[in-house]
Amino acid sequence: MTARTLYDKIWDDHVVHQAEDGTCLLYIDRHLVHEVTSPQAFEGLRMTGRKVRAPEKTIAVPDHNVPTTLDRANAATMTEDSRIQVQALDQNAKDFGIHYYPVSDVRQGIVHIVGPEQGWTLPGMTVVCGDSHTATHGAFGSLAHGIGTSEVEHVLATQTLIQRKGLNFKVEITGSLRPGVTAKDITMAVIGETGTAGGTGYVIEYCGQAIRELSMEGRMTVCNMAIEGGARAGLIAPDEKTFAYCMGRPHAPKGAAWEAAVTYWKTLFTDEGAHFDKVVTIKGEDIAPLVTWGTSPEDVLPITAVVPSPSDFTGGKVEAVQRALDYMGLVPGQKLSDIKIDTVFIGSCTNGRIEDLRAAAAILKGKKKKDGIRAMVVPGSGLVRAQAEEEGLAQIFIDAGFEWRLAGCSMCLAMNPDQLAPGERCAATSNRNFEGRQGRGGRTHLLSPGMAAAAAITGHLTDVRELMAETV
C-alpha cells in the first residue's frame, strides 16, 4: 500500500463519493456553529423546508458578539443588532434541536475552545465551522477548517461538504524552543517564513521535536494560525498527550469505545516515505520571541529587530509596507522595543486557554501594569475562567491592574463593545493585525501571552526574556 500522510488518511476515511473529475463529497463529523455566520444558513433551511441532518453532531455557542463585562446578563450591554444575532442562534438551536451552550452557561466560550474542552473534537475527525480559525482543532489530528455560510447550510442539510483534496505541506520544527519562546512564536515564525499566501491550496502538517514537546494548548495555538499562512487546515499527529487531553471529556468515548477509539487514533500518523508537495524546516532554537509591526500576519520580526523600510521589499509588497507603516504610525529603523502601547489584550481562540493565562500570570505575578495602560484578560471559556480563578491566576491579573472578563472573542475582532479607538495601539495575543481589525484606526501588534504581559508592565513592546531574568 502506498505511504500516506496523516491528511491523506483522514481524507480517505471520510470520502462519501468521488466524481470522475476528482470532486469529492466529504463526510463531516462535527459541525460547530456561532451566531455571526449561521443565521442566513438556518434561514436557507427554513425557506427550503430542510432539516439539520445530524443535530447530534452539530454544536452551537454564541461568542463573537457577546459582551465580556460582568454585567452582560443585562441585555442593554449589547447593541440591538448583536442581540438579534444572539437571539437568532438561541432560536435556531432550539428549533433545529442542536447542542447549545447559551451565554448564561458556564461552558460558554469561544467555539474553538469549547469544542475541544467538551470533547467534541477528537482525533481523526473532520471538523468544520463558519469561522476560519477552525484550523485550531487540527491540533488533535483532526481535519478542521473554516467554511462560508453557504457551506454551513450545506453541512447542516447534508452533513457533507463538496471538496477537492488539497496538497500536503510539511512544516517541521526541529529541536527545542529556547526559554521565553512559545507556540505563538512558532506559528508566527512559520508565517514570517512562508508568507500569508504560502499555504494557499495546502493542508499543513506540523511536526518535529518542538511540536511534540508542546502541550495540547500550545498545539492548538500553532494550528489556529495555519489560516494566517493561507492554509485552510493545520494538523498535528495525535499522541499520548492528545489521548490524555481527550480522556474523560464529556463527549469523548468511554470504556470499550474509548479503547477502540485509541486503537484507531494510533494509526493516524504520516507513513514513512509519504509524499509532501512542500516542506519547510525551521530550527526551534532559532526562533526568538516575535512581534508584528505591520498590518499582515507575515509582517513579523524578533522583538530585538527594528521596523523595516519599504525598500527592503519587492513587488506589490513595497506599496503594502508603506501603507502599513503609515497606518501603524511607525518609521523605518525604529526599534520594535521602543514602540509604546496603550492597550493590552490577552485572550482569543489563539491564546485564551489556561496555559496562556498561566504564562501571562507568571510574568505579572507581584507586578503592576504601567499607569495609563488599558489591560484586559478575556478567558476563552467560562471553564477556563473558573480554572484560572481556582489556580489564583485571576487574582494575579486583578492585582496587576488588569480587567478580568467573561468569555468571548472580544477584542480579537471587536464585534462586541471591546474595541480600539482610532490610533490606539494594542499588544494583542490574537491572530490578525489587519487594518481596522480591533476597531477602525486601531493598531495591533500580535505577540505571545508572556510578551503581552511584559508590554503591560513596561508600557512598550518588550522582550519577555528581560522580565524572566528578573524573576529568576
Binding site: 463529497l25 450545506h154 447534508t158 463538496i162 503594502a320 475582532l413 487594518e435
Partner: protein, 201 residues
C-alpha cells in the same frame, strides 16, 4: 444563484496585495441576519471617512469606477476570515468577477457559491489587465466563462483555468445542496458503515 456565462463591464484596478476580508467588509457589518444590502459598506473603511463622506481617492469612489463589475486585484485577495459577507458585499455592489494572481482558499470558494467568478491569472497577465483597467470607464473588459477567456478593452485575450464542477454550477446557476441531496443514499451508507467502524464519531 444567478447564472454566470459572459460579462462585459468596467474593471476597477486594486493593485494592493493582501486585500483582506476585514477591508472588504469590516466586522461591524457582519451583525446582519440577511445576505443582501452590504454593497453600500463594501470596502467601508477605505471608501468612507469617519463622518461618512467619501474618500475621493478610493477607486470605487471615482466616477469612472462607480459602476465597476470586475476588480483586478493584487496578490492574495480575500485573505483572512471565512465571512461570506465578503462576496455578499461584492455582489451587492455589483461585482461579478475578481481577477488576481492568487486568492485565499475560503474566499475563493465562497465566491462560486454566490455567482461571482474569481479568476487566477499569472502576474504578467494581471499586469496587462491592471494597466487596461487603469484606463477608466471606457476600458470595458470581457469575461467569457464558457470559453474561459478574459479580453481587454483593446482586444487582447487570455485564457484561464477553472474547476469543471464549479464552472458547471456557475454557468447553470445550480444549488450545491440540491445536487448533494441526490447522493443521499451514499451518505446513508457512509453513516451506517461509520457507525460500526468509528462509533464515537
Amino acid at each position: 444563484m444567478d447564472k454566470f456565462t459572459t460579462l462585459t463591464g468596467i474593471a476597477a484596478p486594486m493593485p494592493l496585495v493582501n486585500i483582506d476580508t476585514d477591508m472588504i467588509i469590516p466586522k461591524q457589518f457582519l451583525k446582519t441576519i440577511k445576505r443582501s444590502g452590504l454593497g453600500v459598506n463594501l470596502f467601508d473603511e477605505m471608501r468612507y471617512n469617519l463622518d461618512g463622506t467619501e474618500i475621493e481617492g478610493f477607486v470605487l469612489n471615482q466616477p469612472a469606477y462607480r459602476k465597476a463589475e470586475i476588480i483586478v486585484a493584487g496578490d492574495n485577495f480575500g485573505c483572512g476570515s471565512s465571512r461570506e459577507h465578503a462576496p455578499w458585499a461584492l455582489l451587492d455592489f455589483g461585482i461579478r468577477c475578481v481577477i488576481s494572481t492568487s486568492f485565499a482558499d475560503i474566499f475563493y470558494n465562497n465566491c462560486f457559491k454566490n455567482g461571482i467568478l474569481p479568476i487566477v491569472m499569472p502576474q504578467e497577465v494581471v499586469d496587462v489587465l491592471m494597466a487596461d483597467a487603469k484606463k477608466g470607464a471606457n476600458a470595458r473588459q470581457t469575461v467569457d466563462l464558457v470559453a474561459q477567456t478574459v479580453t481587454t478593452s483593446d482586444g487582447q485575450s487570455f485564457g484561464f483555468e477553472v474547476d469543471g464542477h464549479r464552472k458547471h454550477c456557475l454557468i447553470n446557476g445550480l444549488d450545491d445542496i440540491g445536487l448533494t441531496l441526490e447522493k443521499a443514499s451514499a451518505i446513508d451508507s457512509f453513516e451506517k458503515k461509520n457507525a460500526v467502524l468509528h462509533p464515537w464519531a
